[in-house]
C-alpha cells in the first residue's frame, strides 16, 4: 500500500478534473457559441466565407470596432419579425393553456388511480415522449391531410371534407400532442404528493368537490402547473418542426423565420439577431424553469 501522503495531490487533481472537464466542454460548446451569435448579430452580411463581416479591424495600430445594430433595428422595423414573435408567443401560450386543460385530468386520474396501476398509466404517458417527436408530428399529417384519415371517414359518411393541415388548428394540435407528456409528468409529481387528508379536511369544513378542487388541489399543484407550462411554452415558442410540417406557408413562427433566414436567405447576421432577441425574451421563463428543475445553489 502506498502512503496516503503520496496519493493526496493525485486525488485533488482527480477532483479538479471531475469538475473542470465538463466545465471546459460546456464553456466551449455552450457558452462561447452565444458570444459568437452575439458577435455575428452585430456584423453585416457579406458575400464571403463565412458570409458576414468582421466587427473589428486592426490596422496601423488602430483598433476599429464596427457594431452594426442594423439587424436589431430591422427586427423592430420589419413587421415580418415582430409579427412572427407575437404570433409565436400567442400560439405557444394558447397551446400551453390547452395542453394544461387536457393534461390536468390525465395527471389527476393517474394520481388517483390504484397504486399498482400507476406505473402502467405513467408508461402510457411516457411512451410517446420516448418515440420520435418528428414521427408523431408526421402521424398527425396522416390524420389531418386532405385525403387523410379524418377526411376519408367524413367522406364515407357523406360529409364535406375539412381543411385541417396548414392551419393554426394543425399547429395547436401538434404542440398539444407533442408536448403533452412534459405537462403531465410535473403535474402528476405534485398531485401525487398531495395529501388526501387535505381534501378530506376541505370537505369536512363544508367545501363541496368543486370548491375543494379550486381552494386546495389547484393552488397546491401550482408548482407543477408552472413547471409543466414552462416546459411546454419555452420549446413551443422556438418550435420549427411543427410549423414547418403542419402549418401553412404564410404562417409566421419565429423558429421557422430563423431557419428560413439562415438556410434560404443565407442572412446569418439577421438570423443571429433573431436568435438573440428570442433568448432575451425567453430568458426570464428559462431562469424560472431552471429553479423548478431543482437546481439548488
Amino acid at each position: 500500500m502506498s502512503a496516503p501522503r503520496r496519493r493526496a495531490p493525485l486525488a485533488r487533481m482527480g477532483r479538479a478534473l471531475v469538475a473542470l472537464a465538463p466545465m471546459a466542454w460546456l464553456g466551449v460548446f455552450f457558452l462561447i457559441p452565444f458570444a459568437v451569435v452575439l458577435r455575428v448579430s452585430l456584423a453585416e452580411p457579406a458575400i464571403a466565407r463565412p458570409p458576414f463581416t468582421d466587427i473589428w479591424e486592426w490596422a496601423d495600430g488602430v483598433l476599429t470596432i464596427i457594431l452594426n445594430f442594423g439587424n436589431y433595428l430591422f427586427l423592430i422595423e420589419d413587421p415580418l419579425y415582430y409579427t412572427a414573435y407575437l404570433n409565436s408567443i400567442w400560439m405557444a401560450a394558447s397551446a400551453t393553456l390547452i395542453c394544461l386543460v387536457i393534461a390536468y385530468p390525465m395527471a389527476l386520474a393517474i394520481a388517483r388511480a390504484a397504486p399498482r396501476r400507476r406505473p402502467m398509466l405513467l408508461m402510457l404517458v411516457v411512451l410517446p415522449f420516448w418515440t420520435s417527436f418528428l414521427l408523431r408530428m408526421y402521424a398527425l399529417i396522416g390524420l389531418m391531410a386532405p385525403t387523410g384519415f379524418v377526411n376519408t371517414v367524413l367522406g364515407a359518411l357523406g360529409l364535406e371534407p375539412i381543411v385541417m393541415l396548414q392551419t393554426d388548428f394543425a399547429v395547436y394540435a401538434g404542440i398539444v400532442t407533442g408536448y403533452m407528456p412534459l405537462m403531465v409528468l410535473p403535474l402528476y409529481a405534485t398531485l401525487e404528493k398531495l395529501d388526501d387528508s387535505l381534501l378530506e379536511a376541505a370537505h369536512d369544513l363544508g367545501a363541496g368537490p368543486t370548491r375543494a378542487f379550486l381552494t386546495v388541489t389547484l393552488p397546491l399543484s401550482a408548482p407543477g402547473i408552472a413547471a409543466g407550462c414552462l416546459l411546454v411554452f419555452i420549446p413551443a415558442v422556438g418550435e420549427y418542426v411543427i410549423p414547418a410540417l403542419l402549418g401553412g406557408p404564410d404562417q409566421l413562427m419565429i423558429g421557422k423565420v430563423l431557419w428560413t433566414e439562415f438556410f434560404n436567405n443565407r442572412d446569418w447576421p439577421v438570423a443571429s439577431a433573431v436568435a438573440i432577441a428570442m433568448l432575451a425574451f425567453l430568458a426570464l421563463p428559462i431562469m424560472f424553469i431552471r429553479n423548478a428543475l431543482g437546481v439548488k445553489e
Binding site: F30, P105, P128, I141, G142, F149, I286, L293
Partner: protein
Amino acid sequence: MKRRGWVVATGAALGFAMLYVPIVIMMIYSFNASKLASVWGGWSARWYGELMANDQVLEAAWISVKVGVMAATVGTVFGTMIAYALSRFGRFRGRLLLAGMATAPIVMPEVVTGLSLLLLFIIMETNFGWPAGRGVDTIVIAHATFCMAFVAVIVQARMADMDESVEEAAMDLGARQPWVFFDVTLPALAPALVSGWLLSFTLSFDDLVIASFVSGPGASTLPMVVFSKVRLGVSPEINALATLMIVAVAAILAATMLRGGVRLSARRAPPPDQL
C-alpha cells in the same frame, strides 16, 4: 368517494386518445397495400420490404445509431461528472456557473442551440482549421452537449436520494477515492446512468433541428432524411419506419420498466433496495 370521477375520467381518456389515436392509425396504415392514404388496399407488409431495400434510409439510420451511441456515452460520462461535482464537492469556485451551464441546454430553443454551434464550428474552422468540415463529429459534439445536461439532472436527483453515509462507510473501512466512487457510488447510480444513457440516445436519435444546422454534406441523420421525405406528404415507407421505431421503443421501455430500472421523472425516488 366519487369526486367528479367521470369528469376526470373523461378528460383523461381524451388526453390519452390525443396521444395514441394518430399513432395507432399510422401503424394500421403502414400495412396498407395501397400507396394512397385514402384508399385501403388490403393488408400487406409491402412497405416494410421497400423500407428494407431503401439504402438512403438504412444509411441514415446507421449514422443516427452511431451518433446516438457516441453522444449518449460522452453525455453520460460528462453528465455524471457534473452531477458528482455538484452534489459531492460542496462549495467550490465556479459551482454556480457549472450548475447554470448544466441545465440551460435542456431549456434552450433548438434553433438557437443549432445556430450557435454551427457559427462556433465555422469560426473555429476559419481560425484553427478544426473541425475540418462538418459531419458526424460535429453532430456528436452538439448532441453530447445537451445529453450531458439531461444526464446531470437525472443523476443528481439520484444522488440526492442516495445515503451519503454509505460512501462514508466505505472510507471509514479504508477505501480511498476514486475507488469509493467505483466500488460504492457507481453501482448505486447504475439505474440512473442506464436511464440517462437511454434518454440521451433517444434525444440524439430523434433530433432534427440541431443536426440540420451542424451537419455537413454526406452526414444525413435519419430524422433529416425522414423530414425531407415527409415534407412532400404522407409516405407509406415512413409509416412502416415509424411503426418499427415505436414498437422497438415500447419493447425497450416495457422491459426496463418491468425491471424497475427507468425512472419516469427525475423527481421520483427509486426504491431504497437499489442502494
